[in-house]
């Protein structure tokens, strides 16, 4: 089972760096929120891509709960 953490940096610093590539500046709270949203998206998309249930894809993904409850799903 693939673990999105192996290929996906979910840190607020990474989110901030990615936004900067588009010329957009993220504050601390915004970067954390964006990182959590990206985690949620990564898990869900990994589940679809690899034919897993979302629970399977999320297994061991300890920030998933915060991501799902925090912003978007």
């Amino acid at each position: 089972m693939p673990d999105p953490r192996e290929s996906f940096d979910v840190s607020p610093e990474a989110a901030r760096a990615m936004a900067a590539l588009s010329g957009v500046t993220l504050g601390d709270g915004e970067a954390r929120r964006a990182a959590l949203a990206a985690v949620s998206a990564a898990v869900g998309t990994a589940a679809l891509r690899d034919g897993l249930t979302l629970d399977d894809a999320a297994a061991g993904f300890d920030v998933l709960r915060a991501a799902l409850g925090g912003s978007e799903r």
């Binding site: 990615m18 957009v24 679809l48 409850g69």
Partner: protein, 459 residues
């Protein structure tokens, strides 16, 4: 005669056509009601009294030219009207005057309808509650302290309160269905590609659909075929409205055994159970189905929506971030953290996802599910400034799979909470089979009266 503002779209059109009511009388009645109630509801962004009355006089002076001859309507303020300010619910667009009209408004004009104004919407249609930092929140006609749902917030409030016989909206992540649920009106999210988006504000090219809200399913059947079909300006379009000649009793409804049944407000659970029994009594077959994991579809939809919306608003956020409201800005910024590979994965998984959904639907024409998990929350408790992000996310819990897969979905009023707030169910159909949903909706509304319940007028 009934207050003209409360006529159905069919009745209003017939009254003008048969000269029982002039278009001017109808337009004046609607404008007067909207002027009177808007301070309470904040459903209208702009009034066009002068142009509307001139159009009404022209209609009265000519022979009926189409099925909506002489009928005034108002729509979400995201459809281009030539030479008029189209705000898209944003302070950024207060001076935006497009040169041409949206395809859908041209089609409605061809059918004889004309706009009397433009309705409230969530800023850039990127929100589900009806909050708007630039224009203030739209207010629910059943309880003005409650949300309308969004992003077609003004459309939901206006149709529910008798300010418009029907109203166009858009649905990228629930924006037609949520206001329908919270305001107690009937709304159709159309199949992806059925209605042209040319001249309508974009949010997510892969998910955007145009739909409509009305008092009942029969009015939607009158309105939507008028705007459906191919348009060279929107390459996603092609298929025309596809008529389904079957009766409801020849159809089958599925009820999911998971996801759509979890953590429901008692009023919503009661409404779903009662709707299932109503359909059974109508002779519709009902069966339980096990759908693919809808949460994964939701996550993929968020990936696509976030990525595409961020791309559209990149320049605006870079140069005018202060002109975005906090809720919209916060949601848009998330999209910059999604890697391109993730976005491509989400798009590529859509085909197999749709195939899995259709296989799971088996012989079902529609899946019946709640539209939202609860009745309208208070405006104050769903303001992002109060840290209500989890509640806001929960509002759209049952919306996104339909958008991701491009399916049609019909939101129907189906009950009320103990406090009198409307709740509804949605029928999620097969791609291109929008008409079948309206057949089921019309049968349901012939057997129930939820769609007839009006908010109390202020004294």
């Amino acid at each position: 005669m009934t207050d003209p503002a409360w006529l159905t779209l069919r009745e209003a059109a017939a009254a003008v056509r048969d000269r029982r009511l002039s278009s001017r009388e109808l337009t004046e009645a609607v404008l007067a009601r909207a002027r009177r109630l808007n301070p309470r509801l904040n459903a209208v962004i702009s009034f066009d009294d002068e142009d509307a009355l001139a159009a009404a006089d022209r209609a009265d002076a000519t022979a009926p030219s189409g099925p909506l001859h002489g009928v005034p309507l108002a729509h979400k303020d995201m459809f281009h009207r030539a030479g008029k300010v189209v705000t898209c619910g944003s302070a950024l667009r207060r001076g935006f005057r497009p040169p041409d009209a949206a395809h859908v408004l041209d089609r409605l004009a061809g059918a004889g309808a004309f706009p009397w104004g433009a309705l409230h919407m969530v800023e850039f249609a990127f929100g589900v509650t009806g909050h708007n930092a630039a224009f203030g929140p739209a207010r629910n006609p059943h309880d003005p302290s409650r949300i309308t749902g969004g992003s077609s917030s003004g459309s939901g409030a206006a149709v529910a309160a008798g300010l418009s016989f029907a109203s166009l909206g858009s649905d990228t992540g629930g924006s037609v269905r949520l206001p329908s649920h919270f305001c107690g009106v009937t709304g159709l999210k159309t199949s992806f590609g059925l209605v042209s988006r040319a001249g309508a504000m974009p949010l997510s090219a892969s998910l955007d659909t145009i739909g409509a809200l009305a008092r009942d399913a029969a009015d939607l059947r009158l309105l939507l075929p008028l705007i459906a079909g191919a348009d060279p300006r929107d390459p996603a379009t092609g298929a025309p409205w596809r008529k389904d000649a079957r009766a409801a009793k020849e159809m089958t409804i599925g009820v999911a055994d998971a996801f759509y049944v979890e953590d429901l407000h008692p009023a919503v659970a009661r409404a779903c159970d009662a709707a299932i029994e109503t359909f059974r009594a109508l002779g519709v077959r009902v069966r339980t189905v096990r759908l693919p994991d809808q949460r994964a579809f939701s996550a993929a939809a968020v990936t696509i929506l976030g990525s595409e919306a961020a791309a559209l608003h990149r320049n605006g956020l870079r140069d005018h971030a202060d002109l975005y409201g906090p809720q919209t800005r916060a949601r848009l910024l998330n999209g910059f953290a999604y890697p391109a590979a993730l976005y491509v994965d989400a798009l590529r998984a859509r085909g197999p996802g749709l195939a899995a959904q259709i296989e799971a639907m088996d012989a079902c024409d529609a899946i019946l599910a709640p539209t939202a998990p609860f009745p309208a929350p208070a405006i104050a408790e769903t303001d992002v400034a109060t840290g209500a992000e989890a509640l806001i996310a929960d509002v759209s819990r049952f919306m996104r799979p339909v958008n991701y897969l491009g399916l049609p979905a019909l939101a129907l009023p189906a009950g009320a909470s103990d406090a009198g707030l409307p709740v509804g169910v949605q029928l999620m159909g097969r791609p291109g089979r929008d008409d079948a949903l309206l057949t089921l909706g019309e049968a349901f509304q012939a057997a129930t009266d939820h769609h007839l319940r009006r908010p109390r007028d202020p004294t």
